[in-house]
Subunit: 333 residues, 2 copies
């Protein structure tokens, strides 16, 4: 398959992005990555690397800045790297797009240039999150700040398909993120969504889950509106950093602790690895008529490599056709 | 002052609750705690303790179970310990109520028996949360699942007064919890609340803050609806537990690590203490015409002692009159 990669997107672009693409095609030589962006800069980074034509470059000089209105910028800047990436998917010159750039611009270009799956009202970001039992996916992690109950039902269906097809989880457990376990708890949105999820035929709905249940791995798919999902995701990111920084300060205070810190360093590294977002690499934008993976802005080469891998798996395991089929069936119920 | 303590509320009641009351009056002998609940059981726990009449018992045989509808149960069970506590405040036989029991029942009894401050539409729970710079307070942490923008403005005013009067923070920084820093980001509620907060005269509004900013201590008061606040609070609780459990597993795997673990144990204990909710003991129900402190269901004696201390400080520093004065002024703006 061919994956269009926004080579200019992210805090460490284009260097780490190109390095990630290199690592990916080294590991999966049957695939091809199209590096989209400033041709001169990208070509310079490829100099001396024998990639056997598994990497190519498409020039796209435009840049969408962080402050710009995403949809307006996508409409105006047809030469921006993320827009050109989406166009490669639209014209079937690529089967997937991956970007670590401006999330709003990545969403807008996927929506406007590739389009929504018929029947999906609101595409959503499915963000993988490590739990003590392996990763879950949070849908929506930030695409839709305001949602209606039917959106949450569709998030559940799409998340279920993603966990099954890409993460290999049979009958994924769908949990509705709420402020109590009882079906009578919650805000208006959660109360109504509960009713819809309970009636849905093709998902394994396990009821409400609370904030504390997420990391215990109680659900494989955590369904919520994009406001709550985004707050939780960023909170988790901040909390990991804050705790590790506190631990570092507290266990290097005196000589005894410093000696101990040396001895437990490997263990703490393993913990950090288990909660490391770069292991997952990227979050799928679910509900788009093509594979679109959004990576963290601070993605390093490993995160980019894993985002490309996620795109490959979503394509190979036919996530988009599965969503198309299931949304049609859900409509007919 | 006299504090009415729900001796039957919480997972470790009445033993730990009575122990916490004992510790409190030992530390602050000028105050009195009224232990409300099953007189026989409480009296037995007090046997042989010379509390110098700083503790007394009021019999209240009723119990509100976890599954009951809070408001209905409060109306029906006038002899429930939490209802009797609230009545002691209503009749001015006590200046504050503290409970680690059913949160809904504690809220309902405070609302129905003590009443709201004039001008406050929706009382809110202000839950202290540790940050790397000292505690912040999250308002609302779960009292109101659905909110209007004006509610969030009132949460900001009440949270600001609490942080200033009880936590000793001058000009508390008020942050609106949102999914982006720009004023144009967010759901409808956050967008409208932003406008109100920006125009408010008596608070130090610093704009939007994101999930990752909370634990970095970017704001002293984190304003959000009770759904988001409750999810974040419980997520933090679960994340602390999950991370410490992972660390324990990973740093006790082999002999080298186990030796290291012994050496860093004190440091890790200090970290656990810095993120320990029992340090704060309880969350004020803000907007009530009296001091009402809601404690975690799993409160131990230290948490109860600190909840009583929070009640004392809220009363001494006249939080309720300050809210009354500021809400009147806000109305007149």
């Amino acid at each position: 398959m061919r994956i269009a990669l926004d080579a200019m997107g992210g805090d460490h672009a284009p260097e780490e992005v190109v390095n990630g693409a290199w690592d990916f095609v080294e590991a999966y030589p049957q695939h091809h990555v199209v590096l989209v962006g400033d041709e001169a800069r990208i070509s310079k980074l490829l100099e001396g690397r024998d990639h056997g034509e598994r990497l190519s470059v498409v020039h796209a000089p435009g840049v969408i800045e962080m402050g710009e209105h995403p949809a307006q910028a996508v409409r105006r800047k047809k030469d921006a790297s993320i827009v050109v990436c989406a166009d490669l998917v639209r014209t079937q010159q690529a089967q997937a797009v991956v970007s670590a750039g401006n999330t709003g611009a990545a969403m807008a270009s996927s929506l406007l240039r590739i389009g929504r799956i018929r029947g999906i009202d609101r595409p959503a970001i499915g963000s993988p999150m490590p739990t003590v039992q392996g990763p879950c996916v949070i849908v929506d992690a930030g695409a839709n700040a305001d949602c209606r109950p039917v959106n949450l039902l569709q998030f559940a269906i799409m998340g279920s398909i993603y966990m099954e097809k890409v993460m290999g989880v049979a009958q994924p457990r769908i949990g509705l993120l709420n402020i109590g376990e009882e079906s009578t708890k919650g805000n208006e949105l959660a109360l109504e969504a509960y009713g819809l999820l309970e009636q849905a035929q093709r998902i394994n709905f396990i009821g409400n889950i609370e904030g504390r249940d997420i990391l215990m791995g109680k659900a494989d798919v955590v369904v919520c509106d994009g406001f709550v999902g985004n707050v939780v995701l960023k909170f988790a990111e901040g909390m990991g950093k804050a705790l590790f920084s506190l631990i570092k300060t507290e266990i290097t205070g005196d000589l005894k602790s410093r000696m101990g810190a040396l001895l437990v360093r490997d263990g703490l590294k393993r913990v950090a690895q288990r909660v490391d977002y770069t292991e997952y690499g990227g979050a799928p934008l679910l509900g788009i008529k093509g594979v679109s993976i959004i990576s963290h802005g601070s993605s390093n080469r490993k995160a980019i490599r894993n985002a490309l891998k996620a795109a490959m798996e979503a394509n190979t395991n036919r996530v988009v056709p599965a969503i198309e089929a299931n949304i049609d069936q859900a409509d007919g119920e």
